[in-house]
């Protein structure tokens, strides 16, 4: 780990890194990106960027400053991760086939541990579900929920339908479960979460179901520290 810890804003740092190598892959990185850029992104330190950038370049077999799906798929562990492809997809803005370093960082920033001030802000207002989910809908504060929800919600209608749930279930279970069983599990899961009776899990319901789980904590990795 490098010892240089001067915090520099990510955007500056990233483009700096990228530009320095003449690799800036113009445009579109955030264009169709469904998630708002989390504010905490701005506090990524220089050493973190350096570290991730070296990882980025090592993944970038084409050496064109962007990562393609194949680059990700080359990571051996991802090939045996049942949700691997969905996660890879999360790195790619809609309609894009490549992701540059900035986009790469943007996605990874969702897994950053939440910052102090943010957390206390969250605590000071123990809000009811409504406002909380509203806040979530701004997609600013709790990116982990969003990213998990998007993993299920393929058609982006802010609802996990039974079919969408089934798809993910099917990915996560082995082939020896029959469809009926899986269907019942999906039914049960939806039934458990569903509140408004539309046989789908809305984002608010998703958050509600997981509110007992410390998602921020569970969904953070200390890769940025």
């Amino acid at each position: 780990m490098t010892s240089e810890a001067g915090a520099c804003p990510l955007v500056g740092g990233a483009s700096l890194c990228a530009c320095a190598r003449g690799l800036a892959h113009g445009g579109g990185a955030g264009a169709g990106w469904p998630f708002a850029e989390p504010p905490l992104l701005l506090t990524v330190s220089h050493s973190q960027i350096t570290r991730l950038y070296s990882r980025f370049t090592s993944l970038d077999k084409g050496e064109n400053g962007t990562l393609s799906r194949e680059d990700f798929q080359r990571i051996p562990e991802l090939a045996i991760n049942p949700l691997g492809d969905r996660i890879i997809n999360a790195f790619f803005p809609e309609g894009e086939d490549q992701v540059n370093f900035r986009g790469f960082m943007r996605t990874l920033a969702h897994f950053r541990p939440i910052e102090d001030n943010e957390k206390s802000k969250d605590q000071n207002g123990p809000e009811p579900l409504n406002s909380r989910s509203n806040k979530l809908h701004c997609k600013k504060y709790e990116p982990s929920y969003t990213i998990a929800f998007r993993l299920y919600d393929l058609d982006k209608d802010d609802k996990i339908s039974r079919d969408e749930l089934l798809q993910v279930l099917r990915m996560m279970v082995g082939v020896n479960i029959s469809d009926e069983q899986l269907g019942s599990i999906a039914d049960r899961t939806i039934q458990e979460a569903d509140q408004d009776g539309d046989s789908a899990i809305s984002f608010a319901e998703f958050v509600k179901v997981l509110e007992k789980v410390d998602v921020e904590q569970k969904m953070s990795i200390r890769f940025l520290h």
Binding site: Q73, I87, E94, D153, L154, D179, S184, D187, S220, I221
Partner: protein, 884 residues
């Protein structure tokens, strides 16, 4: 121990009058009788306390008990004119403390504990040392400044000693107060873990240092004639703590090993747990190691194996006995603390000392916590914020351990012992009563995140599982190996050696996280079911949305398997064990099913450790499966991205159409004369099935298409493409409706690179994941090339058909399809494979080919496929599943 009272006449040899029928034998039964009486009093008092909900919600039980003790002590003092029934250190350390520690260790949430072990150790070691030194030195400073009563004869060492015994946070007090406060679990585990582990500091540092009575028992190392030997203390600290831990681990190992063989004598299982833990405690005491650490770690480490080994009833017994013992110990401790405080003969009051101590322990704890948190937060995933720090500082309660220790001080060596005793009592009372009373309002006022004990739900289970996968993937992408990596290593070691050694084979097999959730859910449901008198099956409960599938569910997996294999017995343990409502059964089955087949996140089992004893090919199989599925998906995605033609939209539709067509004519795409086979069944039932489900299928294709947009990222773009060239000859008919959709399956089975599937499986699973990319790339390239050759040319040819498929006229399709198929398959690289597969399929059943396409759920589909009346939903699923 004396024999229990025998009220009946049993004239002993020394009885004065043999004719006496009843004899007063108080002396013989005095001790146990008093013990029983005290426990009875304390327990009755507890009942009284809890009569009023209001009181207990405001005042912690420990406070009430202390006050009660004070009252009782006062009465005893008034009656007997001398203080009796003190909290004897021997009794405390030998009998009262172990149950509490064992209980806390055994029921310690081990994952949480080890997640925070760094913070806990820091606070326990650094924090306690800092508190000791700072308090001791500051008090000494006060003394030097002449602020104290001259009667306090104490040097620096004495004050240091006092400082260290007074600064150790007490597990009993912390537990008593925090359990009622319900702060969030991280906060709790840090404070509580600290209070448990800092015992090593106290015992290792204080006792050898200070002259202590009864050295033989609590501090064998303590000739302690050289109290101020810094180096010696440091060494002894490490020795004491690590030694204690080692003793605990040793006994945990023994315990687990023993319980492995208790299958025939279930009844003594709980006994072993208590006995060995206690022996661990005593053994550690005997060699003057940290006995608290020994029992704590014994409890933490043995639990997993013991719980797996012993029977359910023993588990309950252990749990309840442990809780009962701990609770009564706690009660007695607090009550006796109160009683002991009355004994003024031991007191020597010095206001400066008392106030100074109070001030310093509060101040230095706060300072220490803040400073350490500053450092710790640099390394913590979730930093401890200011509110946490306040609670941690304020939650540093002192208790009976400090009191017992100060009583143990040797008055001959520590001249100011009486002053210290008084101060300790005041400090303990202050922390337990004042802080204990105020911490709850404080926590509420500060809005500290509370913990909420809730039942695990299916949702959480699934989503958390998904989170695990996500995190594992992201870690892989980032190339980060941190805490999870080591934890993983440990788990591998555990799985490979320890569990194998310490667990019964049957128990090992059942051990699983999801199993646990499932199990607990079941037990809970079953209990609630029984509690409610067994008539929970109200209409409301029965009308679950999952009702329709109930029958299929309850007959799934194990039960079904057994039934099929002809045995009437049901080996499902749950079924045997518990009487369950239908809902429970459903729950059970679901969890059962999930447990059996949810993929484990990668980090739970590093591939480099993949040689498992239990089912060496299990992970291999999983890896293979996932790999295959992933590759399949990628192929599809790749196809669509590469050519930008096979849009997900059209694909979904085409797939379905291809399927439809296949239902009718699929065998025709086998070039080698299999077409005859079509004829008979073509006009038969399957066609009808398809027709009946036609509408639903088109519906399904609608939803499906939307879904697909998510999977296939170019969906929108292709949408435009699709609309742009709506010509019938457009390429969006893509590869061929019938070959491409099945191509994942077919390709998977038949593509040349899949030919070395066996090798592939080996690569993926055994040891090195590193080999995979090579293999994958090879596979990738080959599949790409094959796909390219499949995809582009036949598109135009098949174009016209596209329209025809779209129209629902069934008669046309067979012909068009059969025309098209040979063409396409001629372009297809591996016709022989196709034919082979289709042959094998058509051999089994007429609609086998269709299933082939609709894999991987073939087994499940079969019945529904045959039954025309099957719900449309299932069809949707089949279709969907084939995409997955």
């Amino acid at each position: 121990m004396q024999p229990p009272a025998s009220p009946a006449a049993s004239p002993g040899p020394g009885a004065p009058a043999g004719s006496e029928l009843l004899r007063w034998q108080w002396r013989e039964v005095q001790v146990p009788c008093l013990v029983a009486a005290w426990i009875l009093v304390a327990s009755l008092a507890k009942i009284v306390f809890h009569l009023s909900r209001k009181v207990t919600s405001v005042v912690p039980e420990s406070c009430l008990l202390i006050l009660l003790g004070l009252g009782l002590g006062g009465i005893v003092l008034a009656v007997a004119k001398k203080a009796e029934y003190q909290l004897e250190p021997n009794m405390f350390f030998l009998f009262l403390l172990p149950p509490i520690v064992l209980d806390s260790g055994y029921f310690m949430p081990s994952r949480l504990f080890f997640n925070n072990i760094g913070a806990i150790l820091t606070y326990a070691v650094v924090g306690t040392l800092w508190n000791s030194f700072a308090t001791g030195v500051a008090l000494w400073g006060l003394h030097q400044a002449g602020l104290m009563d001259p009667g306090v004869e104490a040097g620096l060492m004495d004050f240091l000693l006092f400082g260290s015994l007074i600064s150790a946070v007490d597990p009993v007090a912390v537990l008593a107060v925090f359990e009622e406060v319900h702060v969030n679990e991280t906060l709790f585990i840090i404070v509580f873990g600290e209070s448990l582990l800092n015992d090593a500091v106290t015992v290792g540092f204080v006792l050898p240092a200070g002259a202590v009575q009864g050295v033989q028992l609590f501090c064998g190392a303590g000739p302690s004639t050289h109290p101020c030997h810094g180096l010696c203390e440091g060494v002894s600290f490490f020795l004491v703590s690590l030694g204690g831990t080692a003793v605990g681990l040793l006994f945990a190992f023994l315990l687990a090993l023993i319980t492995r063989f208790t299958k025939r004598v279930r009844i003594i299982e709980p006994l072993f747990v208590f006995l060995l833990a206690y022996v661990a405690y005593l053994a550690a005491e005997m060699v003057s190691l940290s006995s608290i650490l020994a029992v704590t770690f014994c409890g933490i480490c043995c639990k997993k194996y013991v719980e797996a080994n012993i029977s359910q009833k023993s588990r309950t017994t252990v749990k309840y006995t442990m809780k009962t013992l701990a609770s009564s110990s706690e009660t007695i401790i607090f009550m006796f603390l109160g009683i002991s405080a009355v004994d003024t003969s031991k007191w020597a009051w010095d206001t400066t000392l008392v106030l100074g101590t109070l001030l310093f322990i509060l101040l230095f704890r706060a300072v220490g916590v803040v400073l350490q948190t500053c450092v710790l937060n640099r390394f913590r995933l979730i930093p401890l914020d200011r509110i946490d720090q306040v609670v941690m500082s304020y939650g540093g309660l002192r208790g009976a351990v400090a009191f017992a220790l100060v009583i143990l001080l040797d008055g001959a060596k520590v001249k100011a012992k009486d002053y210290f005793v008084a101060t300790t009592i005041v400090v303990v009372f202050f922390t337990v009563i004042v802080q204990g009373l105020t911490i709850k309002p404080l926590v509420t006022w500060l809005k500290v995140k509370r913990s909420d004990h809730h039942k695990p739900t299916l949702n959480e289970e699934l989503h958390e599982h998904a989170f695990d996968h996500i995190l594992a993937a992201v870690e892989d992408i980032v190339g980060h190996h941190g805490y999870h990596y080591w934890r993983d290593k440990w788990e591998q070691f555990d799985k490979k050696y320890l569990s194998q050694l310490l667990m019964r084979k049957s128990a090992y097999r059942l051990r699983d996280e999801i199993w646990d959730v499932y199990y607990k859910l079941n037990i809970r449901d079953a209990i609630s079911f029984v509690d409610q008198g067994g008539h929970v099956l109200s209409a409301a409960k029965l009308s679950l949305p999952s009702m329709p599938s109930r029958t299929s569910m309850s007959e799934s997996s194990v039960t079904n398997l057994l039934r099929e294999s002809g045995s009437g017995a049901c080996l499902d343990l749950q079924v045997i064990d518990t009487v369950r409502s239908r809902r429970d059964k459903e729950d059970a089955v679901m969890h059962h099913v999930l447990r059996g087949s949810l993929y484990k996140p990668r980090r739970r089992y590093k591939a480099s450790y993949s040689r498992h004893f239990i089912s060496p090919d299990k992970q291999e199989r999983q890896d293979k499966e996932i790999f295959r599925q992933n590759m399949k998906r990628r192929l599809e995605t790749f196809k669509s991205t590469k050519h930008n033609v096979c849009s997900s939209k059209s694909k979904a539709r085409l797939k379905e159409k291809g399927r439809k067509k296949k239902g009718i004519s699929l065998t025709s795409d086998s070039p080698n004369g299999k077409t005859q086979r079509n004829v008979p069944w073509q006009e038969a039932a399957p066609v009808l099935v398809m027709v009946s489900s036609d509408e639903e299928e088109s519906n399904s294709s609608e939803t499906e298409r939307e879904d697909d947009e998510g999977i296939v990222f170019i969906a929108r773009a292709t949408d435009e493409v699709l609309q742009g060239k709506k010509t019938p000859s457009s390429l969006d008919v893509c590869p061929s409706p019938c070959i491409i959709p099945p191509s994942p399956t077919l390709a998977e089975k038949e593509l040349p690179w899949k030919g070395d599937q066996a090798d592939l499986a080996v690569y993926v699973s055994s040891e090195t994941t590193k080999i995979v990319p090579v293999d994958m790339q090879k596979a990738w390239n080959q599949s790409i090339s094959s796909l390219e050759s499949i995809a582009s040319p036949p598109g135009i040819e098949t174009g016209p058909q596209h329209k025809r498929f779209a129209c629902p006229v069934l008669e046309e399709q067979p012909q068009s399809a059969s025309q098209a198929m040979p063409e396409q398959s001629s372009c297809f690289q591996f016709p022989s494979h196709v034919s082979k597969s289709s042959r094998s399929q058509s051999d089994s059943s007429p609609d086998g080919t269709e299933q082939q396409e609709l894999q991987p759920l073939m087994a499940a589909e079969e019945p529904s496929r045959i039954l025309p009346s099957m719900e449309p939903r299932w069809l949707i699923q089949f279709n969907r599943a084939s995409q997955l």
